[in-house]
């Protein structure tokens, strides 16, 4: 165990030394800090600007927390940037070394393929974590705006770290597969794009496929109701045939999305009435998609329950339809499990491709 850790550390230190010494690295961190800072400032200004600023007359009410929206925007932006940066950290680490003629000399040492692969992954991940660390001040700032539990910051950072590790591992796998560095970088970006963009697009495109005309029991106004009467209608049960979206068959398409995983895993903020929380919105939507359509619908209570035609409120008629229970079952473990499996596959590919002696070489490449 200690021997194998020693080997992993040797490789990771080698990789990190390379990176830390290049000034581009420092520049990248500074740019990252400035960009995330700018986004935080913009979202802060935008949200407080909604009502003229807190504390000012006509501004947001005292009890409305502005933390959740700011936190949501910043955390999503950090994930977005992280997904852009992480592929470059690992996607050229194996084929780049191969092209530079340094890989084979490492492979003939006592380092095992697993040590080299894990060491390279660790180095890329540590670099990705450096970017996360630079973002922490802005998350804390969102915390200061109120409404966001401290545990949310911790959970989001952990999930972000895991997601970036997965991207690094996928990049590592492609860098072992593709002989050219440009090829592996493109493939890694494409797979990240597939997870983030393609997943909701495919989900939307499959909606017609999972839509069926089905009879649904609705609690509704009688068909012969006289709309001029001014009397509240006596609602009754009716069966209507209508298109029903069976998203409970396709919700997993959304679940593999890193943004969904992050939103769903984040602990619920103390909800403010008027300011929306992007994390909560996504969480609600994806959980609703997973629950699927209700078999009974209430078309009566909300429409007519509250007011008579002359505007006087009346007590809402008792509806026999169960108020749909908000689904509490979480989605993120499925998504995160899939992502981690993808990462593990990338790592496994890298280890396999680093094994020597090699039987087959990629076309047009030499070992040395």
């Amino acid at each position: 165990m200690s021997a194998s850790w020693h080997g992993v550390r040797t490789v990771a230190v080698l990789e990190l030394r390379q990176r830390v010494r290049s000034t581009r690295w420092v520049v990248a961190l500074v740019v990252w800090f400035v960009v995330v800072g700018a986004i935080t400032a913009l979202s802060w200004a935008a949200i407080h600007g909604l009502g003229g600023g807190p504390g000012v007359d006509g501004g947001l009410p005292e009890e409305v927390f502005t933390g959740p929206p700011i936190f949501g925007v910043v955390v999503f932006f950090v994930l977005f940037l992280g997904l852009l940066v992480s592929p470059t950290l690992s996607a050229t680490s194996i084929n780049g070394d191969r092209n530079a003629g340094t890989l084979a000399t490492l492979q003939v040492t006592m380092l095992s393929p697993a040590q080299i692969a894990v060491g390279k992954l660790l180095a890329a991940w540590v670099a990705a974590l450096a970017f996360l660390a630079v973002s922490v001040p802005f998350l804390v700032l969102a915390l200061a705006a109120g409404g966001v539990p401290v545990v949310a910051v911790v959970v989001c950072l952990v999930v972000l770290a895991l997601l970036l590790a997965v991207v690094c591992a996928i990049g590592l796998g492609f860098s072992a597969l593709s002989p050219r560095t440009s090829g592996s970088a493109v493939l890694t970006f494409l797979s990240v794009a597939a997870l983030t963009v393609l997943s909701p697009v495919v989900f939307a495109l499959t909606v017609p496929a999972v839509t069926q005309d089905e009879p649904v029991r609705v609690w509704s106004v009688p068909l012969d109701y006289d709309w001029e009467s001014g009397e509240p209608p006596e609602c009754e049960w009716r069966t209507e045939t209508m298109p029903v979206f069976h998203t409970e068959r396709t919700w997993w398409l959304l679940a593999v999305n890193p943004f969904v995983i992050l939103a769903d895993a984040a602990p619920e903020a103390r909800q403010a009435a008027t300011v929306s929380d992007p994390l909560a919105a996504i969480r609600t939507a994806v959980r609703a998609a997973r629950t699927g359509p209700a078999t009974e619908q209430d078309w009566c209570t909300d429409t007519f329950g509250s007011f008579t035609s002359d505007g006087t409120p009346v007590a809402p008629a008792q509806s026999p339809v169960d108020v749909p229970e908000p689904d509490r079952s979480v989605v993120w473990p499925y998504g995160l499990a899939v992502e981690l499996l993808l990462g593990a596959a990338g790592l496994a590919v890298a280890i396999r491709r680093l094994s020597i002696p090699q039987r087959r070489l990629a076309r047009g490449t030499r070992v040395a």
Binding site: A3, H6, G7, T10, V13, L14, R17, Q18, R21, S22, D97, A100, G101, T102, A104, T105, L106, Q107, V108, T109, M110, L111, S112, I356, P357, Q358, R359, L361, V367, A368
Partner: protein
Amino acid sequence: MSITAGDRAPTPAPAVPPGIEVTGLHRSFGAVRALDGVDLVARTGAVTALVGPNGSGKTTLLLVLAGLLVPDGGRVRIAGHDPVTDGPAARARTGWMPDAFGTWDSLTAREVLLTFGAAYRLPREVAAARAAELLETVHLTEYADRPASVLSRGQKQRLGLARALVHRPEVLLLDEPASGLDPRSRVDLRVLLRDLAAAGTTVLVSSHVLAELDEMADDAVFLSGGRTVRPDRGDVPADGAREWRLRALSLTALTAWLDSVGARWRPDDGIGGDGPPGSGGVLLPVAGEESAARLLADAVRAGVPVAGLAPAAGALERAYLTLEEERR
């Protein structure tokens, strides 16, 4: 210098098992048969030269020996270990220097050696001492703390050699180590390899500079078209006798005298330079400088107009030129 090839055993019967043993080695890359029947034995404590035209499979052979490529067929033993089935054990005993030394962008020469020390599981202090010692050996102490990527080609080559020696390998595989080295460094390399061999290391070194191999190698293996070949033995003098070139102003007088005294000679194949008409030279085996002095005195005494006597091109070069196979 003895020439080993094919199934022929090395001349002095080995007391210790040979450092490298290869029989019937095959390896193809698609349709290209890079290795097509290689048999060789490299003795422990000897420097073996690996000679062959471009594309004859030298690098491929060294890659198989270093445990980087799986052979399609054949048997390989590195200090008694099979690099395919017993990779780590074989690799622990092997030092391999590729023909092109790649460097990491921002590591210093010393860090490169320390990293490889760690990769070979040397304790930190041992690795540090070894790195300092090796930098001294290859005369890079002055550059120890500069980035390795800015070293000159020859300096990189020397660093690559030091890198291959970090773990004191029993078997050393060098792929054209002398390319890019200045004359002084070549001499140093020769001395270093002789010292290593004297200390019991098996050295297999490929090179195109035959004169140099001539001076440092004990044995030679010829590769041609992926096969070990045995050069025409008739041209290779017996041990201890090198071929010398004897030139005279009158070739007829020279050959007549040589025939009269019964000397073994053969015509110079024309690499001798040009002299006045009628002049010419022959090649004949001479066992050492004393014999050469005696030969010269005898010839002068017999009235042969001798113009020069000098060692001819090395045994390796002549053996090489007799190879039938063409460059590819």
